[in-house]
Symmetry: C2
Subunit: 157 residues, 2 copies
Amino acid sequence: MARSGADLALLLLGGFRALADAASAELAKRGHENIRPVHDFAIRTIDAGADTASELARQLGVSKQAAAKTIGFLEQRGYVSGEVDPRDSRRRRFTVTDEGHALLRTGEQVFDELRAQWAERIGTTELERLEEALSDLGIRIPTRFDVPGYLTNPPTD
Amino acid sequence: MARSGADLALLLLGGFRALADAASAELAKRGHENIRPVHDFAIRTIDAGADTASELARQLGVSKQAAAKTIGFLEQRGYVSGEVDPRDSRRRRFTVTDEGHALLRTGEQVFDELRAQWAERIGTTELERLEEALSDLGIRIPTRFDVPGYLTNPPTD
DNA sequence: ACGGTTTTGACAACTAGGTTGTCTATAGAC
DNA sequence: GTCTATAGACAACCTAGTTGTCAAAACCGT
């Protein structure tokens, strides 16, 4: 019997949730509490050069205020630190701290470990096949997952 | 080169998003605007017997107020209709209307069509293998996806 | 060098989808 | 018949966003 399309969607969501929740829990154990994918993503984007709130907002496709709030959290937690740009005193330029880089490394590691656990369970071949299939479907890596009510609201684009 | 665990997570999320967004858009075209998976799920749960706000709340694992709000939306849109229980005047008992059943049918159909599109692109075998792999991983179908900021907040359970 | 336009980041007010706590009315139990 | 539990409503709050407004600073064209 063929599965239904709805089941397929829920399997994908369930898979993501399983990974994301496990990763968040594991990160908490390793000293990074309340970290979710969005924070990792934001730090990465800052590290890649989006070093002001406005620029981060543009790169992430959110409002400046939302980006500023995220930066506020990251700064308060010590993952990034910011100083006023001497050449443009409107700007505060942010850099990723050692702690921030440590978070990125740990995050990668945790996800890789989880992936390895999956590979153990169903076999490396099968897992790679799954990834290959999703890639072949042209699934683009989402660049925004910090949309509130994403699952309940209609897409705005 | 082996993919990273983080990419795997994003692929899964991207896959779900692709399906959910396409389904929502297609449902809108067919006369059901602003419908998201959560509404389908709620209607199904009511149809399965959770015919009061409190019962729906329990089944969905959300607060009574959240359930009442969802029911309010569904009622206003004509997908369910409610009357005071003659044997317990505290309760309002809801039933799924014809319109509600039509939405469920259309929703199923839309998802099945999307799945068929995927099957065309990567082959039925490959798609079934993907589903099989996820099932084998013990991914449980999420019963709650109406959590705000789900992707940004730590899990509460 | 001055004046108009753009950009930065902050503030306030709002939305959507949740939460908890309090309350009344009704129902059920001993 | 009182005591307890349940249904649903209301208010207040939370979180992660949004838009609009604004002052200060920077950029640009004449």
